[in-house]
């Protein structure tokens, strides 16, 4: 009989332990690597669902590692926010395995075991970052995530990926070190590393300059890792040239997890009182995020490569979430958290469709997408759903989070942010209809359809698992949209701290 309190630790430990076995199994039987990986992430997924369920029924869960009480040892603290994000991470990681196992066998025939091992470590790192309640533990896990991400990205496009990855390392290390330095300042002023404990101790230090600098460095470090404009320069190349199977999971999860870390630092460590009453920087951060939203949209418009266009959409979406979190009211934060959930699925679907297109067309330039609707009808259907969601058309989920963000901005009287949000929607409309125009309407004049041309127009879909995967995610996008009222009232609102 498994005790109920075991599940929080199982979420992180199973993928970790299985990563070692997957590596070892490679020499025994290559075929066993994938099933074991799936098994590991499934256990983690199930445990996270059970954990979320017990959070819903009995409130915040604490897990003391090594049996030591919190400020002495490390603790896991799971409330609604990270409970939900844990479920999403493990779900996406699991789902991505189903959609891209043939891609992995195609890309890394000889090093499959090692690749899956790295994949598991990446998942472990993300889950660990989200679940932990200790500032330094977060850093260590962040580095596991980043290190496996660097390596996975460097395996992509032979010419460009290593260079993109090395640039990512330089900037990523600066980001992580800034975070570490910020934690050092916090430690020096308070003497503790536990988030709850620090939040308690920081009350007396609101006017300390050292805490202010600690805050700046932590937040800037996290911004670098999440690629907020103008600290985004590493992102487009790194995500564009990553191998398909890794790009699909790194792109949606990495940045969103960092947004989560920012929200956690803001609301669970430094506290609302400090953020909005002592510091007077929220205004400038909202300007910054408005700039990020617009910059991402405009840069996306100027791209020719489909994947690169998507990476700029990510930068634009980061602006949404950061802005929402800094609006300083309930609606804005709700919108930001809802947008984290939605954006994970939207970005995942974007990269799924890019991967499916890439399976047939090697070069993903937009002018190569002609007639793609005839050739790959199912993938294109999924793509249209995602596009609508990103533009923000109901009933897809993108609409609802944008709605909350705009309401929050009106409440906070941040008109620039509202304008940025609306303009970005318009930009996205232009962006996607440019693609639709190319792909839906063939520029070639329709000649008499002889039998040869008809056979040329035959459907050439990506493998079934990829296509079905995309369609399932498309359906999820609509489902989340339809149930977003329930998600907000049951999962997000109880988390929102009092006093906002």
């Amino acid at each position: 009989m498994i005790d109920n309190h075991v599940f929080p630790i199982l979420i992180v430990i199973t993928p970790l332990v299985c990563a070692f076995f997957v590596m070892g199994l490679y020499w025994v039987d290559k075929r066993l690597c994938l099933p074991l990986t799936i098994l590991a992430i499934s256990i983690s997924f199930i445990s996270s669902i059970i954990t979320l369920y017990s959070v819903l029924t009995s409130g915040t869960i604490q897990y003391k590692l090594g049996g030591w009480p919190p400020p002495i040892g490390i603790e896991y603290r799971i409330d609604l926010l990270n409970g939900v994000i844990l479920v999403i991470i493990s779900f996406i990681s699991l789902f991505n395995l189903f959609t891209s196992f043939n891609q992995v066998s195609h890309d890394f025939p000889e090093k499959k075991g090692t690749f899956y091992s790295l994949y598991l470590l990446f998942t472990t790192g993300l889950l660990g970052v989200v679940i932990t309640g200790d500032l330094f533990n977060l850093y260590v896990l962040l580095e596991i995530t980043s290190l496996s991400a660097y390596a996975q990205i460097a395996l992509g496009d032979k010419k460009r990926a290593p260079f993109a990855s090395l640039n990512y390392i330089f900037i990523g290390v600066i980001g992580a070190s800034f975070y570490l330095l910020g934690v050092g300042y916090i430690y020096m002023m308070t003497g503790s590393l536990n988030m709850g404990d620090v939040a308690h101790l920081i009350h007396n230090l609101h006017h300390s300059q050292a805490i202010f600098v600690a805050f700046i460095f932590c937040i800037v470090g996290v911004w670098i890792k999440m690629a907020l404009f103008p600290l985004h320069i590493w992102l487009p190349n790194a995500y564009t040239y990553a191998p398909t199977a890794s790009g699909r999971i790194i792109a949606p999860l990495m940045t969103k997890v960092m947004v989560y870390v920012m929200i956690r630092l803001m609301y669970s460590v430094f506290g609302i009182d400090y953020l909005f009453n002592t510091l007077h920087i929220s205004q400038s951060i909202i300007y910054l995020s408005s700039a990020a939203v617009l910059f991402g949209g405009i840069m996306a418009l100027s791209q020719d490569n489909l994947k690169k266009m998507f990476t700029y959409i990510i930068i634009s979406e980061i602006g949404y979430m950061v802005g929402g979190a800094w609006l300083g009211n309930k609606t804005g934060l709700t919108g930001a958290i809802l947008h984290i959930i939605n954006d994970v699925f939207m970005t995942f679907a974007l990269f799924l469709s890019a991967g499916n297109f890439a399976w047939r067309i090697k070069d993903l330039s937009i002018h190569n997408l002609e007639d793609i609707f005839q050739k790959m009808p199912w993938t294109s259907t999924g793509f249209v759903v995602v596009a609508l969601s990103i533009i923000g058309i109901p009933p897809t989920c993108g609409f609802f989070s944008k709605w909350y963000l705009i309401l929050g901005a009106i409440e906070a009287k941040q008109y620039l942010f509202i304008i940025a949000l609306i303009l970005s929607s318009l930009l996205n409309i232009i962006l996607f209809f440019r693609v639709f125009e190319k792909s839906l309407f063939s520029s070639k004049p329709h000649v008499m359809e002889s039998k040869e041309t008809r056979s040329y127009n035959l459907i050439e879909e990506a493998p079934a698992n990829m296509t079905i995967g995309l369609l399932v995610i498309g359906a999820i996008l609509i489902l989340i949209g339809l149930y977003s009222g329930k998600i907000v009232s049951n999962l997000i609102l109880p988390f929102i701290p009092k006093g906002l």
């Binding site: 290190l147 660097y150 010419k159 290593p162 260079f163 090395l166 330089f170």
Partner: protein
């Protein structure tokens, strides 16, 4: 004036780490050679390690290994003088940070080697020129 000098001398560990850190940061951003950038990255991380270690120091303290009196197997918590031993926590944290920086350095070197195989150069501007030329 005297206060300023006292301030500077009393906290010179912090000045040193800031100077080192800025050297590293400058090298990461401004240098053209990828290996030089890597070295800059290492200096940058080392500066932070130095900062942490200096937090842990106590004047007159010795290394954090409890001296058990001769002939005894254990020592009661009450008889330990806390100010005698320096703070162990920063040392532990930095052991982790050192390991992380070594691991990152190893991976970065591996990637740099891959770049060298592809382009036969490690100068950033040459690589960028070749990427643009394509």
């Amino acid at each position: 004036m005297e206060l300023l000098i006292k301030e500077i001398i009393g906290k010179y560990n912090y000045w040193l780490y800031i100077i080192l850190m800025m050297i590293g940061l400058y090298a990461i951003i401004a240098k053209n050679n990828l290996i030089k950038k890597l070295v800059g990255m290492n200096i940058f991380q080392t500066a932070i390690i130095l900062f942490y270690i200096s937090i842990g120091y106590k004047k007159g303290g010795t290394l954090p290994i409890i001296e058990i009196p001769h002939g005894h197997h254990t020592i009661s918590p009450e008889s330990i003088d806390i100010s005698k031993y320096i703070n162990p926590l920063p040392h532990v944290l930095m052991l982790t940070a050192i390991v992380v920086s070594v691991a990152t350095f190893g991976v970065a070197l591996a990637i740099a080697l891959k770049i060298y195989k592809e382009y036969n150069t490690l100068e950033e501007d040459e690589i960028r020129m070749r990427l643009r030329g394509k």
